[in-house]
């Protein structure tokens, strides 16, 4: 068995509105390894969440996967997810069972009118043949496993009586109910405060180690990347501009955008005189994109060549970059 859980190859997802087309994802490739965490980093609107929705086939109504392939390596063989009907029985059997997802805001992502137990049980009811009694026990066990105190009591409570951190744990319990092979986490801690954030990450790392779950973590926070990632993909305007192992990206960034992202983060403890360089300009209008490299108008290294879209270059076996000038970026220290 290969150690790859999910392979995304040159996927293109377009969103249509008012007869206009936003190429939200325009040729994205990556693979998620078993028991490893892949972080997709990028600013708002770069296509991170659309990538996740494409894998789950939970795209908004007026959007479509126009090209490329998403291959899920299940125990029973390869499944081409992009070929499955969006809401067909086979896709539904994968969702929540083989590939599960947790969302940004646990306040709104849990249904307020059902108990936590009910919402976890739903998952088990549709994906397993467990008896009602076994399901009830499993819900309690899951909550306990996620580090929720008094799980027998919590299981009967409604989301509004749980704290934010508890709710996200309940959310993760729901996602982990069927022991999925892949867990997609779409900015799971953005709505939580920092201490809770650390606890949730600890929990995710533990689950990864115990169950061999592959994690696709979507974030805009480089600190999170340093903490959790095994592999990193940096996205900008619907393309992966640089991808590699966490060391490749954080220690040897070769794309000007990655560099700019890294130098725009204040570091705690370096005092108030540290130089923080924000990225100049703002992201272009997705309906009115610059030609060639999307980052060129904001880039310090831009040249004539950047009017054309660069090809992907492998600077190391694990490290690829989408830039004409990556050598100059590397040389500039």
């Amino acid at each position: 068995m290969s150690d790859i859980a999910l392979e995304v190859d040159d996927i293109k997802t377009y969103i249509y509105s008012n007869r206009r087309c936003n190429k939200a994802i325009d040729g994205v490739s990556f693979s998620i390894r078993r028991g490893k965490t892949l972080c997709i980093v990028g600013e708002s609107g770069c296509g991170k969440s659309i990538t996740a929705s494409s894998i789950m086939q939970l795209l908004p109504a007026l959007s479509r996967i126009e090209g490329g392939s998403i291959t899920y390596h299940s125990d029973a063989g390869e499944i081409r997810i992009d070929k499955l009907p969006r809401n067909g029985a086979r896709m539904r059997a994968i969702r929540g069972s083989e590939i599960a997802m947790i969302f940004q805001d646990p306040m709104t992502a849990l249904n307020p009118v059902y108990t936590v137990g009910f919402q976890i049980a739903e998952n088990l009811k549709y994906h397993t043949k467990m008896t009602a009694r076994a399901i009830r026990d499993r819900c309690v066990a899951l909550l306990r496993h996620m580090g929720i105190p008094l799980p027998e009591q919590r299981v009967r409570e409604y989301p509004h009586s749980l704290s934010g951190g508890m709710r996200q744990r309940a959310m993760i319990a729901m996602a982990m109910a069927c022991n999925p092979k892949i867990l997609i986490a779409d900015e799971p801690t953005t709505a939580l405060d920092v201490t809770i954030q650390a606890q949730i990450f600890e929990l995710m790392n533990r689950l990864k180690a115990e169950h061999g779950t592959a994690i696709l973590l979507i974030t805009h926070d480089m600190g999170v990347v340093a903490e959790l990632a095994d592999d990193v993909a940096v996205m900008y305007m619907g393309k992966i501009v640089e991808a590699g192992t966490v060391d490749d990206i954080l220690r040897r960034p070769r794309h000007p955008y990655t560099r700019a992202l890294l130098s725009s983060i204040p570091v705690l403890g370096r005092g108030k005189n540290q130089s923080i360089r924000p990225i100049r300009g703002s992201t272009p209008d997705p309906y009115n994109r610059p030609p060639g490299c999307q980052f060129a108008p904001r880039c310090d290294f831009a040249t004539e060549a950047c009017q054309r879209m660069p090809d992907e270059t492998f600077v190391a076996p694990t490290h690829r970059v989408l830039c004409w000038n990556h050598d100059r970026v590397a040389a500039s220290g």
Partner: protein, 319 residues
Amino acid sequence: MGTFILRRILILIPMLVAISFLIYLGLELTPGDAVSHMIPPDVANTLSAEDLEALREQLGLNQPFLLRFWIWLTNVLQGNFGHSLEAGVAIKDIFLDRLPATLELSGFAILFSTIIGCFLGTISALRRGSATDNSLTVVGMLGVSIPEFFFGLVALSFFALHLEWLPVGGRLMPGYDSFWDRAPHLVLPVLVLSLMMTAGVMRYSRAAMLDALSREYIRTARAKGLPGWRVNLLHGLRTALTPVVVLIGFRLPALIGGSVIIELVFQWPGLGNEFIAAVRGQDYPLVMMIALFSVLAMLLASLIIDVLTALIDPRVRLE
């Protein structure tokens, strides 16, 4: 929840007393009195002022306002609702006679409009932007904006006068008083009343359903791999119900107090018709009781709404 309901019912009593005082005061401020209506002007002219005064004395209309209110209130609290000044009939008997007719009409209208309205609203929301949705939206707008008397008259002239399928009005024919005998009489008023209400319920449940479907927990439910019907009904419709329950709940008292216009158009012998007659005749005791009954229905409806919303949404706590 039990103590909550009990407490709310106990609060009803002082509220009803206060409201009945206000209604009594309002009636007191209107010009003229029952006597001037009971006796036709030409007869009144032949009577002496003393005779009229004697009649007022006899009816107790000459006593001070507060005293009259007190007498009325103590009587009502003892279950003695008094007599209609105009017809001389016990008000209790008028209620026993008229209330079933009103309840029959409103009951069917609420039943049909709730079921059909929620159903169409949900369909409309699930197929947002489709031809079905658009045509239902147009029908709904028409239903909300056409006044019910107009729609009632059109229905009457078409189905009753032109096609002669259904009776023009009334409820009972002498000698025929089983439900199936009166069913033909029921069809048109129930149809008109339900259509008006269905339009409102439909617009409301569509909006509530769209709002529910745009929530993130719907995406969570889909991400769990649940089938579409379960996502839409259990996660969508269930949370969309609260505003719809409130809307229907607040329709209840208006309908129980008598849907005045519909009853008038179809000559339906319900409380609404009686109410108009009583107001015209300045029949204080009767106006008081019908108004009070409507108020009671309103207060009870808001209690029912509170209990139902608490049952639907666990975040609502009854305290």
